[in-house]
């Protein structure tokens, strides 16, 4: 298959700060590609360069086969962009915002109304199309902007943190819309996110980006495999004693946090018995395959902060969270 996007040593500096540092990769036509990284990693800057909104300091990229430096007009014709921050006009209704967008993209006047109708029903906003956007909820607004990004039927669609600030239910709806787009219309989708779960649920391939550099690029399954084992979490009643655990060869990594110990274990199904023997008395044990959170930790050496509540959550909440994830 052809490449929808090719980046070659793409770099952007803002003064002394290198926001994006010599990134190179290819995105295949029709895939859902994820850029995963914490705030300030350089995701928005990367997309903005692809969309010709920001000029690269050095390097080059081709979007839909067109150079982002020399063929900006052709690039802009082939893309759609859903921005991280709200970008619709508050004083207009949902439908008026879409009409405006269709005119900006030169959609055929005879097709405008039917196209607007069809994107409105795709994102379930038909009932609210006459309501002014200032009276929309955050989720409705996001859906409207997704609809807008699709209206002119771009071959390549950029979604910058499409579910930021949405409640979990709306977020899952959004994922369905996005997946449907990719499967039904064959649109190439590049999505940025700092939600692990989102990257994993949505993307065919993921690039982990941190400090403007791509740390790794692979399928979610391969990334998880590369962590080197399963995650076993032990909860002790008192202070954990890990001296014996550390001697076991199949334990790749041992981390202590309060009364819980987190182990990265090669083939945990076989070795769980030995681990429990070495650990002595434990209150709870949890064994699971690695999540994207573990993947991120593995490649960047730090945890991605998903949201306030999780970062501040205690050990038990974390275990429950792991459990929730392991069911998927």
């Amino acid at each position: 298959m052809a490449d929808a996007i090719e980046a070659k040593e793409l770099t952007k500096k803002f003064g002394n700060l290198t926001a994006v540092n010599k990134i190179s990769f290819k995105i295949r036509e029709g895939e859902i590609f994820g850029l995963l990284g914490p705030n300030g990693a350089g995701k928005t800057t990367t997309l903005s360069m692809f969309a010709t909104l920001v000029h690269p300091t050095s390097g080059e990229a081709y979007v839909g086969g067109h150079s982002i430096i020399h063929e900006q007009g052709a690039v802009r014709k082939s893309i759609g962009f859903v921005f991280q921050d709200p970008s619709s006009d508050d004083t207009l209704s949902g439908r008026e915002n879409l009409y405006l967008h269709a005119l900006l993209y030169g959609v055929n006047l005879t097709d405008i109304n039917s196209k607007i109708d069809s994107v409105l029903s795709l994102v379930d906003l038909k009932d609210k199309q006459r309501v002014l956007v200032k009276n929309y909820s955050g989720g409705m607004r996001r859906r409207l902007e997704l609809a807008r990004g699709l209206l002119h039927e771009p071959k390549i669609l950029f979604l910058d943190e499409p579910t930021l600030g949405l409640d979990p239910q709306t977020r899952e709806h959004m994922w369905e819309y996005i997946k449907e787009l990719s499967s039904k219309k064959g649109v190439t989708i590049i999505v940025t996110t700092h939600y692990m779960e989102e990257a994993e649920q949505l993307c065919d391939r993921i690039a982990i980006i941190d400090h403007g550099e791509i740390k790794v690029l692979d399928t979610p399954a391969n990334l998880r495999r590369n962590v080197g084992g399963d995650i076993v979490t032990l909860r002790f009643s008192g202070k954990p004693n890990v001296a014996k655990l550390k001697k076991l060869k199949f334990i790749r990594k041992t981390e202590i946090k309060g009364s819980t110990v987190r182990l990265t274990v090669y083939n945990s199904a076989v070795h769980l018995q030995d681990i429990l023997k070495a650990a002595g008395k434990v209150e709870a044990v949890e064994s699971r395959s690695p999540t994207m959170n573990d993947v991120f930790l593995h490649y960047t050496g730090k945890e991605i902060r998903e949201s306030g509540d999780e970062a501040e959550g205690g050990a038990m909440e974390r275990i429950m969270h792991y459990r929730a994830n392991s069911h998927r």
Binding site: T52, S87, T91, L104, L109
Partner: protein, 251 residues
């Protein structure tokens, strides 16, 4: 084709917003009415009518039209700053239309706002004893149109370089007050001291006011064609500068 529909899109948006925010229109008309009624009557009561060639209130009426246009058209430029603050400007800039078209769409939007205000002021003028013929009515619209295009372009130029509304107000204030006070909107040009006349004569708004006054009440310093040529040149230069600024505009 797509450039034309892009220009229409931007005009459509400004027009919709304008019709939704009627309070903006009403408040923009209160100030000129206060000038006419209070300032015009107050200063008129101590002035010898002969000094201005007639009733003072009537004398400043064309100047007040110019003033209204000046303020509302220049400050129309602040909306581009708001568009930057929400990401609406990105949505426009990522669309496949040229910066030139974006600029013209905005100019048309601002000009429509301004022309609606001018028409309202012209109708209100009949209550202050102003009489229009069809010819003077049309000629007033033409003069106002050209002036508005020039001033909207200045506002948009300032807006394209600014990232905060406060910054815009500051720079806008620096530009607007000299343009207004040095235009002869409030006083006749005949008897000015040389130093002041120099400043007044290099101000393009002077010629707009002079032309409007000539058309509406028949008092003018220069020939109407001379006035017209100068403001046409002024509007043209401002459009060129505005287009250039939009091409350079960063997010």
């Amino acid at each position: 084709m797509s450039e034309a529909s892009g220009i229409y899109a931007l005009w459509y948006r400004e027009f919709k917003v304008f019709t939704r925010e009627r309070s903006r229109v009403v408040s923009s008309l209160i100030t000129p009415l206060m000038w006419l009624v209070i300032f015009g009557t107050g200063l008129g009561s101590i002035l010898n009518g002969a000094a201005v060639g007639g009733d003072y209130q009537t004398f400043i009426y064309p100047g007040i039209i110019a003033m209204t246009v000046l303020f509302s058209s220049l400050f129309f430029g602040v909306y581009i700053v708001w568009d930057k603050k929400i990401d609406f400007l990105k949505e426009v800039l990522v669309a496949p239309i040229s910066r030139t078209s974006i600029f013209f769409g905005k100019v048309l939007g601002g000009t429509t706002d301004g022309m609606i205000q001018v028409v309202i002021l012209m109708v209100l003028g009949t209550f202050f004893g102003i009489h229009y013929t069809i010819l003077s009515f049309m000629a007033t619209l033409v003069f106002a149109f050209i002036l508005i295009i020039g001033i909207v372009s200045i506002g948009l130029t300032i807006g394209s370089y600014m990232s905060s509304p406060e910054g815009f107000s500051l720079i806008g204030g620096f530009v607007i007050f000299p343009l207004f006070f040095l235009s002869g909107a409030l006083f006749p040009l005949k008897s000015l001291p040389a130093w002041l006349y120099t400043f007044v004569s290099i101000n393009p708004v002077t010629y707009a006011v002079d032309g409007l006054r000539g058309i509406i009440i028949g008092i003018h310093q220069f020939s109407i064609m001379y006035d017209l040529s100068i403001i046409l040149l002024f509007a043209f230069i401002m459009i060129v500068i505005g287009t250039y600024s939009f091409k350079r505009m960063k997010l």
